[in-house]
């Protein structure tokens, strides 16, 4: 299994750089992945999305869909696209240390 180095720690990732084990995730790793994805700084609005996604993932084993994020009142679809430009569901999941979302919507 490929690994990716963040500072002194190495974490298990898939071929596209998604963490395969959420327990290895840290806030520093999130910030580093975000920078790789073109997000210079994670704001409280980003963290709110990330934390909700992790909570849902722990409960269901799946990252929540954009629709679920919108309906749960965590973030509107418009804001989600603005926070994570160029592929919100995938980018947010990657930063949150979740596996790549599989759904079509």
């Amino acid at each position: 299994m490929p690994q990716k180095q963040f500072g002194a720690t190495a974490v298990n990732v898939d071929d596209e750089g998604f963490l395969t084990d959420l327990s290895q995730w840290t806030r520093d790793i999130a910030a580093a992945v975000a920078r790789d994805e073109g997000i210079a700084e994670l704001t409280p609005a980003h963290w709110k999305v990330i934390e909700f996604m992790q909570k849902e993932f722990r409960e269901s084993g799946q990252a929540p869909s954009i629709r679920r994020l919108n309906k749960s009142g965590v973030v509107t679809t418009k804001d989600l696209y603005a926070l994570f430009p160029g592929g919100p569901a995938k980018k947010a999941a990657k930063i949150a240390g979740l596996k790549k979302p599989e759904g079509c919507v």
Binding site: I66, R67, N70, Y81, P85, G87, K90, G103, C104, V105
Partner: protein, 155 residues
């Protein structure tokens, strides 16, 4: 690696749930990948953005070989409504929204929505007859202009 697709313009020309959903899913999916997306609704596809009709789009049970059943059953009163309701429940479970919510979602995702001028004239419709997310009523020439530099998908 091949060049990534940067832009898609999707034509929705058919009515009914099976006519409307593929285009909506493809447009939304494009935005989820950071691809610029346009939706152009024409002919009965226009139902998907027409205020009075968008919430009432059904699955055709007559003359639809994809239904895996004899067409004669499809003419039973209420059959289309039943099939539609069953399908909607299943779709909701996998987070595919009903048409009006889907139109809102795909628009919020940054996809632009257009109505076909020829169809609008043919059906005697006006801008007010459409969902607020519809950007404008455009002719085919304008559609090609908007689609320049991208892929065109006809559904």
């Amino acid at each position: 690696m091949e060049d990534k697709i940067k832009k898609v313009s999707i034509v929705v020309s058919k009515g009914g749930l099976d006519g409307v959903y593929p285009g909506l899913i493809m447009a939304n999916g494009a935005r989820m990948e950071g691809i610029e997306a346009n939706l152009f609704f024409t002919f009965f596809g226009l139902d998907a953005i027409t205020r009075k009709r968008m919430a009432k789009i059904k699955i055709a049970t007559v003359g639809n070989p994809g239904m895996h059943m004899p067409s004669i059953l499809g003419i039973l009163p209420g059959f289309s409504a039943l099939a539609t309701s069953m399908m909607k429940k299943t779709m909701d479970k996998i987070d595919i929204p009903p048409v009006p919510e889907f139109i809102e979602m795909v628009s919020d995702a940054g996809c632009k929505l257009y109505a076909c001028k020829a169809t609008v004239d043919m059906f005697g419709l006006k801008k007010e007859d459409f969902a607020p997310q519809v950007d404008s009523i455009i002719n085919v020439g304008k559609f090609y202009e908007i689609s320049a530099g991208g892929e065109i998908i006809f559904t």
